[in-house]
């Protein structure tokens, strides 16, 4: 497919995509100018680097890590200590290079801890990373000089000499620093996938036995990839330290590691751009969804479960599959099914959501009265009618969804068969 857009001597498609990405990073704070959105955009940049570095392990190396926050978190701590040293005049580097300090720290810890964790692959690897993560988190409560105990370590990013009037005081300035780092890191990580090491990493994921037979050490390949992932994770951590100006022990905690895993997977681990989508979703979920409903972790868990079961390639794979359909001009045949699926799924979400919200309301703030507002409709959490109504909507939704799904599966299968035939026909025509 990529061959279509390949013009010599330049790969135009790639130039276009990367320029658009740079433009997006540049213009985003002009479009979304409010304080909240600039803060969110900055967090998205950080999350993009973190999720992509995580995907270097999960998607490209097949290494399921439960402890990625260790490297981002320790990077944050080192960058914060460096910032404080800088403020005290003991360190002669500009603030804009502090994320690199975090990166080097993340890499250092990856060299140290990765030596133990990458000795295994697959399930044992996952458990060991979790053990290491618990180890670091437990240590964070023990060594309060370095980790700052409960209060964490804080600093002030307006330090040192301003460079061309940039002090990094205003949020927009820090956003552009993050955007620059994001662009460079994304480009570097994409470049990594094209290197021989990146390719070997894919081979180690797919067929480790064969790689060993060719004469490579799978352990070594995993270790090197782990170190590089640790470096980028550390950069993300360092940027986080500059952005928030405070680092607490939770940045190395299991919750953070779990979030990286969850959203990288949701975005799509099989495609390079998947984790970027995941990172954007992560920030939206953490900032907006958690404001909207108290049950957001439940919804997140359920979405994740269904995603693993029915679309293990994440959102990115769904997009790519439909792009393929669109490319062959078949999207017109199936859009009615999508409409049906969408409407019935909405009914399920509305019914189930109303019930979940009512239960949460009864459980948490029944003191505030019995009325819950859900999607603009006032519901009486103790009334039979609202429960029956929600249940009715849910059951109808499930029934109709199943009908729509069957129709969709039929059509989808037909279209895929047609596309296969078309590809064969083109091959023979050449």
């Amino acid at each position: 497919m990529a061959a279509v857009y390949k013009f010599k001597p330049y790969n135009v498609g790639r130039w276009v995509i990367w320029s658009l990405f740079a433009l997006l990073l540049l213009l985003a704070p002009r479009v979304f100018t409010s304080n909240l959105s600039v803060t969110m955009l900055a967090q998205m940049g950080i999350a993009i680097i973190a999720c992509l570095s995580y995907n270097m392990l999960l998607g490209q190396g097949g290494m399921l890590s439960f402890g990625h926050a260790v490297y981002t978190g320790l990077g944050s701590y080192m960058a914060m200590h460096a910032l404080n040293a800088l403020s005290a005049g003991q360190l002669g580097i500009p603030v804009s290079l502090l994320p690199l300090v975090g990166g080097v720290a993340g890499m250092g810890f990856a060299v140290l801890l990765g030596w133990v964790t990458t000795r295994k692959s697959g399930t044992p690897f996952a458990m060991i990373t979790m053990g290491v993560a618990e180890l670091v988190f437990a240590m964070s409560l023990m060594f309060s000089e370095f980790f700052g105990g409960e209060a964490g370590v804080s600093g002030n990013r307006v330090a040192g000499q301003p460079f061309m009037g940039i002090t990094f005081g205003p949020q927009v300035q820090i956003y552009y620093l993050i955007a620059a780092y994001t662009f460079v890191c994304v480009a570097l990580m994409f470049a990594f996938t094209q290197t021989p090491l990146g390719r070997m990493l894919n081979a180690v994921r797919d067929n480790p036995e064969r790689v060993e037979f060719i004469g490579y050490s799978t352990q070594r390949v995993r270790y090197l990839a782990f170190i590089i992932a640790g470096f980028f994770a550390g950069i993300a951590g360092g940027l986080g330290a500059l952005n928030f100006e405070i680092v607490t022990a939770e940045v190395v905690g299991a919750g953070r590691s779990g979030a990286y895993l969850l959203f990288t997977f949701l975005g799509g681990a099989t495609f390079f751009f998947g984790p970027i989508l995941g990172a954007v979703l992560m920030v939206i979920a953490f900032v907006l969804l958690s404001e909207l409903t108290k049950a957001w972790l439940l919804y997140l868990g359920l979405v994740f479960l269904f995603m693993v079961m029915y679309a293990p390639g994440g959102i990115a794979s769904l997009i790519m599959m439909n792009l393929r359909v669109a490319k062959f001009g078949k999207l017109r045949q199936i859009w009615t099914s999508y409409l049906g699926l969408g409407v019935t799924a909405l009914a399920i979400v509305a019914g189930a959501g109303a019930m979940i919200e009512m239960v949460y309301h009864l459980q948490l703030n029944s003191a505030l009265g019995d009325v819950v507002r859900f999607m603009g409709v006032p519901l009486n959490a103790k009334g039979v009618d609202s429960w029956v109504g929600a249940g009715f909507v849910l059951l109808t939704g499930i029934g109709l969804f199943e009908l729509a799904r069957r129709q969709y599966v039929l059509e989808w299968g037909e279209i895929q068969a047609d596309i296969e035939k078309e590809i064969k026909r083109r091959e023979t025509a050449v």
Partner: protein, 344 residues
């Protein structure tokens, strides 16, 4: 002396509780290759269902019914979700159980609230199983049940009497775990169904060709494994606290147990659980740091050294990280685990 015995028994009972959990985990892992990330969540569900059922039918029937419910839920999860993911490989299997752990945590908070519930053991188990009396003149004595208060107070000021009771819940926990260990071992090695399970483990195609429904065997094993976690939950929940955080506190430790013991080795899991239980219990009770050690040895430390937080750390402060430290050491010096057979 009595401190040593009681701590040892406490450690053993904690270790045996860990074994109740890790045995189910190991069983599922060695059978299906699935690392059940939500195992500790089933432990938590067991505790909560035991609490609810205990309020309705009493503790003893709940002790039987709650594990059955949890096992049923586990089997249902295997049937509806895990089996769909099985063809994708081990990493998605692990991910699906990871997602389940989130959902279970939220659901538990939804149904039973975010604070701890009051789940107490029945009257019989509330007292002491036995009491050790250390009398400075008569020596060490053991009395079943709680000791009468007059036995623990010395009539004479020159005499020193220390009573150390051992809680009955702990003894009960040990009893159940040992019973479970024996019956599990008998079931796996001495019965027909155990042989079918072992066959399905090593040669799934052959077992299927001989007419055994291997997917159903897997479902039963998953149900049984989670049921064991539920049993541990009822006992653990009534002995310790039943709260939404209970899954997280025990979850990572049982993974350590499984790796340290050797992936898929039941005897290794037993050894590792008892070892970790005992180490952790003793470490919590020891208030000894490098500083006191240096003082005992008669070393002179500089003032800066004495103020160093690493030097001041006591063993009890280090206790939470010991299992993980143990894990790292095992991986460096014996990567296949204590009693593991496979490397990789």
């Amino acid at each position: 002396m009595e401190f040593f015995i009681i701590s040892m028994l406490n450690g053993m009972s904690y270790g045996l509780l860990l074994f109740m959990l890790s045995s189910g985990l190991t069983l599922i892992f060695s059978m299906m290759g699935v690392l059940n990330f939500a195992h500790a969540s089933f432990y938590m569900i067991g505790a909560y269902i035991g609490y609810t059922l205990g309020g309705i039918v009493g503790f003893w029937p709940a002790l039987l019914l709650a594990p059955l419910c949890v096992g049923g839920l586990g089997a249902l999860f295997e049937r509806l979700s895990l089996r769909k993911v099985h063809p994708f490989g081990h990493v998605p299997e692990l991910l699906v159980t990871f997602g389940l752990s989130y959902v279970v945590l939220e659901l538990v908070q939804l149904v039973w609230g975010r604070t701890a519930v009051e789940f107490t053991p029945p009257e019989v188990l509330r007292g002491a199983a036995f009491t050790l009396i250390n009398h400075s003149q008569d020596g060490l004595r053991l009395i079943w049940g709680a000791a009468a208060p007059e036995m623990c107070t010395a009539a004479d000021a020159a005499l020193r009497v220390i009573c150390s009771p051992f809680p009955a819940t702990r003894a009960f926990m040990m009893l159940i775990a040992l019973l479970m260990l024996v019956s599990l071992w008998l079931l796996l090695t001495r019965t027909r169904i155990g042989l079918v399970i072992q066959a399905a483990l090593t040669h799934p195609e052959m077992a299927e060709a001989l007419g055994h429904n291997v997917p159903r065997v897997f479902m039963l094993v998953f149900g049984a494994g989670t049921g064991l976690a539920g049993l541990a939950g009822v006992i653990g929940g009534s002995t310790f606290v039943t709260e939404p955080a209970m899954a997280a506190t025990v979850g990572s430790v049982i993974f350590v147990v499984v790796v340290v013991g050797g992936m898929g080795s039941l005897s290794g899991a037993f050894l590792a659980s008892v070892l970790i239980g005992v180490i952790q219990t003793f470490a919590v009770a020891i208030d000894y740091s490098f500083l006191t050690f240096a003082r005992d040895m008669g070393w002179q430390l500089s003032a800066a050294m004495q103020d160093n937080s690493v030097v001041k750390l006591t063993v009890s402060q280090v206790a939470p990280i010991l299992p993980y430290l143990f894990l790292v050491l095992i991986l460096i010096f014996r990567p296949k685990g204590l009693l593991g057979t496979r490397e990789g």
